[in-house]
């Protein structure tokens, strides 16, 4: 079936919209020095940032799954009082400027922070400037994407399957593991990938809360930012890697798992 021909104004504005997103990408492709792109990507600083970003984004996704899936289930299945407020609270980082998230993390988990002071005094635990801080910053900004995706998935599950399992004597825990989770596997996967992609791109909260040290807290986006002043060709090559990975994620998800249309 063919869609109706779009009105001139809408099509023109839409084309400008596409150009707005396509031109920066074209700029990166244009500026990349293809001869040296590969050697730029295997410089020690680029490699260490790539490695750290991989570790941090995967850790943030695992943490997101561990904490986010139960949260999504609670939102979808338990009508506890204040649910909307709590959901808003846990998805706030989606709309919050990441640097504000970083400041918030710092005043909570920093050495003089609400919890951090106690962690330092009681256990000698200091979070800022560590890879753990980088993981926390990434989880903080990325988990909401997973929670919302999985919650929508659980809501769309036909509750009769769960009811049937219950009448057969399955415990709530067993129903969750063996009925609900397999049924929401596609949204689980989509949520995890979105979460991972967002964690990979995290910058503002990281540089504020975790600082910037190669090999410890300098993830890809931080390396791009710092590198733009010293080795622009490396920064541009790394940027292109980030763009391609993110683009790949969105294209794959849209086609296979996200039912946006």
């Amino acid at each position: 079936m063919r869609a109706a021909r779009p009105p001139l104004v809408i099509a023109a504005l839409a084309a400008i919209g596409v150009a707005f997103f396509a031109l920066p990408l074209a700029g990166l492709v244009y500026r990349v020095s293809w001869q040296s792109a590969l050697s730029d990507l295997v410089t020690p600083e680029a490699l260490s940032a790539l490695r750290l970003s991989l570790v941090v984004s995967v850790a943030a996704t695992v943490l997101g799954l561990l904490l986010g899936v139960p949260l999504a289930w609670m939102y979808a299945r338990v009508a506890f009082p204040g649910r909307n407020v709590v959901r808003a609270l846990t998805t706030l980082p989606m709309v919050l400027p990441p640097v504000v998230g970083g400041v918030a993390l710092l005043v909570a988990f920093g050495r003089r922070g609400l919890v951090g002071e106690w962690l330092d005094a009681g256990f000698g635990l200091r979070i800022p400037f560590t890879t753990a801080a980088t993981v926390m910053a990434a989880t903080f900004v990325s988990m909401p994407f997973l929670v919302l995706t999985v919650e929508a998935g659980i809501r769309s599950v036909d509750r009769r399957y769960e009811e049937a399992a219950r009448t057969l004597g399955a415990s709530q825990w067993r129903i969750f593991r063996q009925v609900t989770l397999p049924l929401v596997a596609p949204s689980l996967f989509a949520g995890a990938v979105l979460c991972w992609a967002r964690a990979l791109g995290e910058f503002g909260a990281t540089i504020t809360f975790a600082g910037n040290l190669p090999g410890v807290t300098q993830t890809l986006p931080l390396a791009v930012y710092i590198g733009m002043e010293t080795r622009p060709e490396v920064a541009i090559a790394l940027s292109l890697v980030l763009v391609l990975v993110s683009l790949g994620v969105l294209v794959a998800l849209r086609d296979r798992y996200l039912r946006l249309d």
Binding site: A12, A15, G211, E229
Partner: protein, 285 residues
Amino acid sequence: MSSSRSPAVQRPRTKTKGSRRVHIRRLFAVALVVVAAACGGASQPATSSLAPTGAPTPEPLAGAVTVFAGSSLTDAFKKAGDQLKLKYPGTDYRFNFGSSSTLATQIINGAPADVFASADDTNMQKIVDAKLNDSAPAFFVGNRLEIAVAAGNPKQIAGFADLAKPGLIVVLAAPPVPAGKYALEALQKAGVTIKPASQEVDVRAVLNKVALGEADAGIVYVTDVMSAAAHVTGVDIPEQHQVIARYPIAIVRDSKNPRLAKAYVDYLLSAEGQRLLAEFGFSKP
């Protein structure tokens, strides 16, 4: 449903498939033209702002300038802007503070700066090499390094040697940032190697990490310690390990307001401007 829909909107639906395709193609052509016009429009004001500069008789200074300056200049430059506002009513001064290396990169990539003040010669040289300066860079002020520690110096840090102690959290500015480069030079002179916990994006970020108590020490400028005297204490660096920062300033090419840009630079170089900078702890260049 909207009953007020104009029949003119519906009429073209009767067109054939072939003309529809042509139509779509034309749409993209239109869109491209619109985008091109928008791009051209952005650079238009730069060339059409002849009005304030083209007049032969000296008109009173007016309008605004945007000053890009190393973050260590934050407080002093804002004060200078306030002074000039009193001197030349109707003028306005906008600032973009950051590491001189970030600012140089921004200017090279076309950021609309009228004045650039760098905390080192290296980053000013990038602007000169790109032929983006409109006046020869002039050294207008100097600065010295100092170790910033928590107010009252609870960890009793006496000098560079103490910074290498295990368990101490030390932050520096990143190596491309002037303050980071100077700090490494000074540490090298002292023969001390430290493992920084973080390489911050500019010197004020280093200062803030110490002021917030997240870092035990940071290497910053004397002027930064003065600006945060309530939260941090400065520890002197002996003369033989000291690195003196010299700050150049220049008017940026294609400034939309070169007269006011020159007025700002001239003020900083004047006796009055130098007195103001000295109040913030800056030394002679």
